[in-house]
């Protein structure tokens, strides 16, 4: 797709999203949407490293968690302005991503999964052990919120937070799409598809891999920081397997290497999970079953479901 058309479509889509608070006035529905935006940022950034880069970074949720805790710690102990802390948390996640890239530079496939998974667990262990600062298993509470002088972000049914979350998603999406459409993005995909050839054409594996992971970390960290400011608490649950499974299924169900697919799947899954709130403990079971079912029947993810349905509709409408 030509970039002007794509940019126009993105703007239209976000304009529709920006209009949503006027349609859904109640605070809880907006909360669901805000969570969907946060998950969309995390999932679409994971798509950069996983889908485009082909790097199975299983520590992606740890980068999110680092954002959460970095924001909490910076605002609590350094007393830095929350907005600056938001950006600094993104920087902290980026730095962590660069550190974790070093041991995986020479590795491939499953070995990267193992090391990054171990990295995530290590970060969690460190946070748990430093309970004087992080609250350990109790987590952090009463984290500094974001503020705009004269405006209460939480008032009017989370009106303010809705737009902050949407702005983060928009910025992150533009950043990701510009990156993957650029020459750097092309070289990242080249390394994924044919490493030997790409290297022989002068692409640096080391540099591109560091760029891929660092770029995927920045907005993930910011999303984490926003999550902390919005929820006002932090716990090590963000490092757990269940959240990682949900977000990873957003990436895979949406279809990898599209960015938009991950975002769409985040909306679908988050809203779907809300509809199932009545099922209580059965919710994770149903979600897991659905993930398996979609992976079994539609290898291309929800995009495959979409094609299937539209084909059915077309076939029906052709019949007299």
């Amino acid at each position: 797709m030509d970039w002007k058309r794509e940019a126009a479509l993105v703007l239209v889509a976000f304009a529709v999203l920006a209009f949503l608070p006027f349609v859904v006035p109640d605070s809880y529905s907006r909360h669901v949407l805000i969570m969907a935006f946060i998950y969309a940022v995390v999932a679409s950034n994971w798509d950069l490293s996983l889908g485009y880069g082909g790097v199975f970074n299983f520590g992606h949720l740890a980068l999110f968690g680092i954002g959460v805790y970095a924001y909490g710690l910076i605002t609590k102990f350094a007393g830095i302005d929350p907005w600056l802390a938001l950006v600094l948390s993104g920087a902290a996640s980026t730095f962590a991503a660069i550190v974790v890239t070093i041991p995986i530079l020479r590795l491939k496939g499953i070995y990267i999964i193992l090391v990054t998974f171990g990295f995530a667990q290590l970060v969690m262990q460190i946070i748990l052990s430093q309970s004087d600062y992080t609250g350990g298993t109790q987590g952090m509470v009463r984290i500094q919120t974001l503020y705009i002088p004269g405006v209460n972000l939480i008032r009017d049914g989370k009106f303010g937070y809705f737009y902050v979350a949407l702005a983060i998603l928009l910025t992150s999406t533009i950043f990701l799409r510009v990156l993957v459409r650029s020459k750097t993005g092309a070289s990242i995909v080249a390394l994924r598809d044919n490493e030997e050839y790409a290297i022989s054409r002068g692409i640096s594996l080391v540099r591109q891999r560091v760029i891929t992971l660092a770029a995927s970390a920045f907005f993930t960290g910011i999303a984490g920081a926003f999550y902390a400011a919005y929820q006002r608490n932090a716990s090590v649950d963000v490092f757990g397997m269940s959240l990682a499974t949900i977000i990873l299924s957003m990436v895979l169900l949406g279809g990898t290497s599209t960015i938009y697919g991950a975002i769409a799947a985040s909306f679908v899954l988050t809203i779907f999970a809300e509809f199932m709130a009545d099922f209580g403990a059965w919710r994770p079971i149903i979600t897991a079953l659905l993930i398996i079912a979609v992976m079994l029947v539609y290898p291309a993810g929800l995009a495959g479901v979409w094609t299937h349905i539209s084909n059915l509709v077309r076939a029906k409408s052709k019949k007299p």
Binding site: K108, T245, I285, I292, M295, L296
Partner: protein, 292 residues
């Protein structure tokens, strides 16, 4: 001094045996099918809970043990048939199987929570009682683990190296197409690998349930330990991870004796990263299978 040596020796043997038991099933699946089973941890949990349930029905414990392993072997076969076999042949199979086994893990974990509830349970010990060896008090349950594990591992090794079925499994691991050509039933062998792995996971779970409390989330930590062990040992054959398990057991025993439990995970991870930078294929791995 004598005390330190026996503490380290015992701790190393005990942890090493546990780690070997946890990791060997994971390694078996990887070497045969080339996928990673992220439900391996919850299979340990499920095995322990099934043993607990059988025990609660007042079945004698020496029957519970093999019975739980057989039931879990069936569960392993089922897992393979439902979430792994359909994916074979897809280009991104490694990733897809990661997500389906993760989803299966979530399914089993929450299922166990529904059936057995969140309250912690404990299994009876394999052998009740305590004893004193070289001046340190140890439980007979731990001694039993130290003794049983090498026997099971040796049996597995003999099975894989000395029986036709075991050799067929290894043949599939080495070259799937050629195995098909010589008439091996590759799908059945995949099922067998998962069944054996699940039975071994059940045993690991029963070991754990006998000395600490069980809960539906008890599988997460041993899964991580198993992952570390297989990365350390390399995945080119089954004995690499076994050696690595004991090595890590002793490393942890030494670390926690001299530096305390608090620093042990960090030190272990630092060593792991260093090792991966020098020998990405693992300590006992060969470069034959590649790193993909």
């Amino acid at each position: 001094m004598m005390d330190a040596a026996s503490q380290i020796l015992f701790g190393g043997l005990f942890q090493g045996s546990l780690y070997a038991m946890m990791a060997v099933g994971l390694a078996l699946i990887w070497t045969t099918i080339g996928v990673f089973n992220f439900s391996h941890g919850v299979m340990m949990m499920l095995g322990a809970y099934i043993a607990w349930q059988l025990n609660a029905w007042s079945i004698p414990y020496f029957i519970v043990l093999p019975l739980a392993m057989i039931i879990m072997a069936g569960a392993g076969w089922l897992l393979q048939a439902s979430v792994v076999r359909p994916m074979i042949g897809r280009p991104n199979i490694v990733l897809v199987v990661v997500i389906t086994t993760l989803a299966a893990a979530s399914l089993i974990e929450n299922g166990a929570l529904e059936i057995w509830g969140p309250r912690s349970k404990q299994l009876p010990t394999l052998i009740a009682g305590n004893t004193e060896i070289f001046g340190i008090g140890v439980s007979l349950h731990q001694i039993a683990i130290i003794v049983i594990t090498p026997i099971i591992l040796l049996a597995l090794w003999l099975f894989l190296n000395r029986t036709r079925l075991g050799l067929a499994l290894r043949a599939v691991a080495q070259n799937e197409d050629a195995s098909l050509l010589v008439g091996l039933n590759v799908t059945a062998l995949y099922g067998l690998a998962f069944a054996i792995a699940a039975a071994l996971a059940a045993l690991a779970g029963i070991f754990m349930g006998g000395y600490r409390f069980m809960s539906p989330v008890m599988g997460a930590d041993p899964l991580l330990k198993a992952l570390i062990v297989v990365v350390f040992g390399g995945l080119s054959n089954i004995s690499g991870p076994i050696f690595a398990a004991y090595l890590i057991g002793f490393f942890e025993a030494i670390c926690s004796y001299y530096f305390g439990l608090y620093w042990t995970p960090a030190l272990l991870f630092a060593v792991l990263i260093l090792m991966l930078m020098v020998r990405p294929e693992g300590l006992f791995g060969s470069r034959a299978r590649g790193l993909a």
